[in-house]
């Protein structure tokens, strides 16, 4: 079978565009959920703050400005078709794309090379996650993850006999701890299963899923409980603490039940392209 060939150069170009798009154009599902929250919110101050947040997204899009000054630690997800042939250095192509994209978009350099010594920040390296999938295409996603919310990530290794309620209580407690600092209203990513490391990655990947009306009992319970906390936009009250709850699961061990929470601020940013 003839393999499809994709060059390092093609990948770099796509990543340049995705970095700028993700940082300046708010995801449509996030934008729409903010609009719908504005319609249902009763608290006047919360309403005004939601208007500011929507207005901010409009200004960012029009002026090609970063939605948030924390343009994040760029995370690049690569879903690589196993029948695809890559020509050139893939990792180098990705980092080059992020470097050029962040420079071109005047996006912030927020990465210190040495986490202990904390030297002058640069805009690379990005964190890269790869996955091998069927097919002959590559799906590239850039997710600039701000650290106001990333710092509030939580992981708990539950007993396998834990109840849904235990899981919900853990999520709500962690969201309360996150509070105004993680820029509510939030989008909540939950990862359940796998190993400790995988649960955290699942929680992050859950944030890449579109915000849709909730179907499972657990996600509905979490949404209700989080909105009942009354944290509200900017932590100043109201019923809009959470715009969406996305859960991703994976098989796990009989002895455990890993549960991870990865919160996103209201500026949940990502952009994807398949080539």
């Amino acid at each position: 079978m003839n393999k499809k060939i994709i060059t390092a150069n093609q990948i770099t170009k796509v990543i340049v565009d995705l970095c700028i798009k993700a940082n300046t154009i708010l995801r449509k599902d996030v934008y729409d959920s903010l609009k719908s929250a504005l319609r249902s919110e009763k608290n006047l101050r919360a309403k005004n703050l939601l208007k500011l947040i929507i207005n901010n997204a409009d200004i960012a899009r029009k002026n090609k400005l970063a939605i948030c000054q924390d343009t994040g630690l760029p995370i690049v997800f690569l879903r690589i078709g196993q029948n695809l042939s890559l020509k050139g250095d893939l990792v180098n192509a990705v980092q080059k794309g992020v470097g050029i994209g962040y420079k071109k978009g005047a996006l912030r350099s927020s990465i210190v090379k040495d986490p202990i010594k904390r030297s002058t920040p640069k805009n690379i390296p990005a964190v890269i996650h790869t996955e091998i999938v069927p097919g002959n295409k590559i799906n590239i996603t850039v997710m600039p993850k701000g650290f106001g919310s990333e710092n509030k990530t939580a992981l708990k290794m539950f007993n396998p006999t834990a109840s849904l309620r235990d899981i919900k209580d853990f999520i709500v407690k962690s969201v309360l701890e996150a509070g105004p600092e993680a820029c509510p209203p939030f989008i909540i990513g939950v990862g359940i299963g796998g190993t400790a490391d995988m649960a955290v990655l699942l929680a992050k990947k859950a944030l890449l899923k579109k915000i849709t009306p909730l179907k499972t009992k657990l996600s509905k319970d979490i949404l209700k409980a989080v909105n009942d906390t009354g944290i509200g936009a900017m932590g100043l009250g109201g019923k809009t603490t959470c715009l969406g709850v996305n859960i991703k699961t994976y098989p796990t061990h009989i002895a455990g039940l890993p549960v991870a929470l990865n919160i996103s601020c209201h500026a949940l940013r990502s952009a994807s392209k398949t080539i």
């Binding site: 000054q69 996006l107 820029c183």
Partner: protein, 175 residues
């Protein structure tokens, strides 16, 4: 009620501001976040005082994105204030008056604000593009090697903030 104020804020104005009050600020503010705070506190330990230009002034917890040609600044929203909680009390004690950021503060910060009659304000979090339109001028005044974390002197006009901890140490946040 008057809601527009010029910086630096006088003690009388600070005394009159109440938690939850929405105000617009015009004048000079200085950006500083984690690494700049570490350095400022080291300066205090060495010299016994904060740099003169910060006395009576406002610090904004912010690391802006780069400016496009023709603009004074890029996106410039607030960062999490709590990370500065270990440094803020000593700076307040040495004459810093106003802090602008996002989120809650520690008990020690609240107490020092009360003792020194300072104030803590919050800016709309995650609205850096909108806030950039309120900045008229920006220049780095020190710690240039820190990049976005350098101290920028910025001139703002009608910069929107909400009073989060008032002169009595009372906080707008419930939890």
């Amino acid at each position: 009620m008057k809601n527009k104020f010029n910086l630096p804020l006088s003690q009388n104005i600070i005394n009159a501001l109440k938690i939850g009050q929405q105000i617009l600020l015009s004048g000079t503010i200085y950006t500083a976040r984690d690494q700049a705070h570490l350095r400022l506190v080291n300066i205090v330990k060495k010299n016994g005082s904060i740099p003169g230009f910060l006395k009576g002034q406002a610090i904004y917890y912010c690391g802006p994105t780069k400016a496009f040609k023709g603009s004074p600044i890029g996106s410039c929203g607030p960062t999490t204030s709590a990370r500065m909680d270990i440094f803020a009390p000593i700076l307040i004690k040495k004459g810093l008056k106003v802090m602008i950021g996002k989120g809650r503060r520690s008990l020690l910060v609240k107490e020092e604000i009360k003792k020194q009659k300072g104030i803590y304000l919050i800016a709309p979090a995650g609205c850096g593009a909108l806030l950039s339109k309120k900045v008229k001028k920006s220049k780095i005044v020190c710690f240039k090697d820190l990049g976005a974390e350098a101290i920028h002197k910025i001139e703002v006009e009608d910069f929107p903030v909400i009073v989060a901890i008032d002169v009595k140490g009372k906080s707008v946040f419930k939890q």
